[in-house]
């Protein structure tokens, strides 16, 4: 009688203490896995060295468990080309690791049990487990950025893709290397650079100057300098030109370009080793698979802007 009551009391204690600690550890393991997966996926760049660096990054974010006293051990880091797998261990990275854009982190924590073993021993009659394993797992990936309301430079040459009647459909974004393009929409009827001549639609926009969303000098200034747009953008969308020549624009563009002290490097590695300050990474001349705002080269073979997100 007394024994049964004692087991019930231990069961109550076990529910509160052991299960409580398991819940907290689970939560902490999930936070560790989330942060690790994001940090790792940021570093993937399509090479086997990148995979090794990603593994290091994923396990060195520094989040802990057991009330922030213990580091995680035995974390598993795997990579894949899709969220469905198959998952490849980072200990034997593929070379090249092109298109390995998914990274999965599995964190485990062994939680000691203080009261529950009494109940399990009573119920099963055998010697109980004195600890249990809780797992946190997260998958992060470099995903193409198809919509943006921040981070894009609000000026661009007109891209001559097929739908607007351009002839350079085989070149990236409709541009030819070595050809000069006007970076803003010229005033009605005038074309300033030779590369613009294949396009006829820009002359009908009127006096539009290439920014969009607003024609207040202060707002344009913020858009140029801080890369903040008034309107969200989607890949494939035709940018609305807004009329009105602003003398501040030229100054702002010069200031913005001056934020990047590196105007000569044309490879990604040379560019990132320059020791940049401010927001230099954004006005890079490097064009390829790039990760928004973190300067990562990206592991995908498809050029474009990528964002690292948790997918699972």
């Amino acid at each position: 009688m007394m024994g049964v009551c004692a087991v019930v009391v231990f069961g109550c204690l076990g529910l509160a203490v052991d299960i409580g600690r398991m819940y907290i550890s689970k939560n902490e393991a999930q936070a560790y896995a989330d942060a690790g997966a994001l940090a790792g996926a940021l570093v993937l760049d399509g090479t086997s060295t990148g995979v090794t660096n990603a593994s290091t990054a994923a396990t060195s974010v520094g989040n802990t468990w057991n009330f922030d006293t213990k580091s995680f051990n035995g974390t598993t880091v795997e990579i894949a080309t899709s969220s469905a797998g198959p998952w490849t261990s980072v200990s034997s990275p593929p070379s090249p690791a092109t298109n390995y854009t998914y990274l999965r982190v599995t964190a485990t924590a062994r939680v000691s049990l203080y009261f529950m073993p009494v109940v399990t021993a009573f119920a099963s009659g055998s010697s109980p487990a004195l600890s249990t394993t809780v797992t946190g797992r997260a998958v992060a990936a470099q995903l193409p950025l198809t919509t943006s309301n921040v981070g894009a430079f609000p000026f661009s040459p007109i891209a001559f893709d097929g739908s607007t009647g351009g002839s350079n459909t085989s070149s990236p974004w409709g541009f030819v290397a070595g050809q000069q393009y006007t970076i803003r929409y010229p005033a009605n009827g005038s074309s300033e650079c030779t590369g613009d001549t294949v396009d006829s639609s820009h002359t009908t926009i009127g006096s539009a100057r290439g920014y969009w969303g607003d024609n207040s000098a202060a707002v344009i200034s913020q858009q140029v300098q801080g890369s903040l747009q008034e309107e969200g953008l989607t890949v494939g969308e035709v940018l609305p030109g807004v009329g009105g020549a602003k003398t501040t624009i030229a100054t702002d563009i010069v200031d913005r370009v001056d934020q990047d002290g590196d105007t000569t490097d044309d490879t990604y590695s040379a560019y990132t080793s320059y020791g940049h300050t401010g927001n230099s990474i954004w006005s890079a001349i490097y064009i390829g698979a790039g990760i928004q705002n973190n300067g990562g080269q990206g592991a995908s073979s498809t050029p474009g802007s990528y964002q690292v997100k948790l997918v699972q």
Binding site: V9, Q225, T272, G278
Partner: protein, 142 residues
């Protein structure tokens, strides 16, 4: 009768302990979740400053996100009893002149579980890599 008197001391102790640990762990688990949400929010919010000192609006939004679960501060029901935004710490890590990580934690908070209290110092705390848009205008933009 005498057995009950003796036994009740043990039972009362066990029951108080159960409540105390259970409640403390419950609150702590809520804090872990809140800090995690706050750090995720900080890692995605547009960062405006060119130094590791966050702008007042960035810091306030992150603190409100942790304490109230709402970055705008409209909802002011704390996620744990009398948790205030000022209990929340935010540290920004800069690498090569750009923000690279956000560390969010509870700088100081006491859990009162009726029979005893425990003061947490710098925990729970969690770090996330910075993934948001960096737009250095050196002013609050939103």
């Amino acid at each position: 009768m005498i057995e009950f008197a003796l036994g009740s001391f043990v039972l009362m102790g066990a029951l108080t302990g159960t409540f105390q640990f259970g409640y403390t762990f419950y609150v702590y688990n809520n804090l872990v979740t809140a800090v995690n949400n706050g750090a995720k929010y900080a890692s995605l919010r547009s960062y405006e400053m060119t130094s590791s000192t966050p702008s007042p609006c960035f810091k306030t939004a992150v603190q409100d996100m942790v304490a109230y679960g709402d970055p705008t501060g409209t909802n002011t029901t704390p996620v744990a009893p009398s948790l205030t935004p000022s209990d929340v710490s935010l540290a920004v890590t800069f690498t090569n002149g750009v923000p690279s990580a956000m560390t969010v934690g509870i700088s100081s908070y006491t859990i009162y579980s009726v029979f005893a209290s425990i003061t947490l110092s710098n925990k729970p705390i969690v770090t996330y890599p910075y993934l948001g848009p960096y737009s250095p205008t050196d002013s609050c933009t939103q």
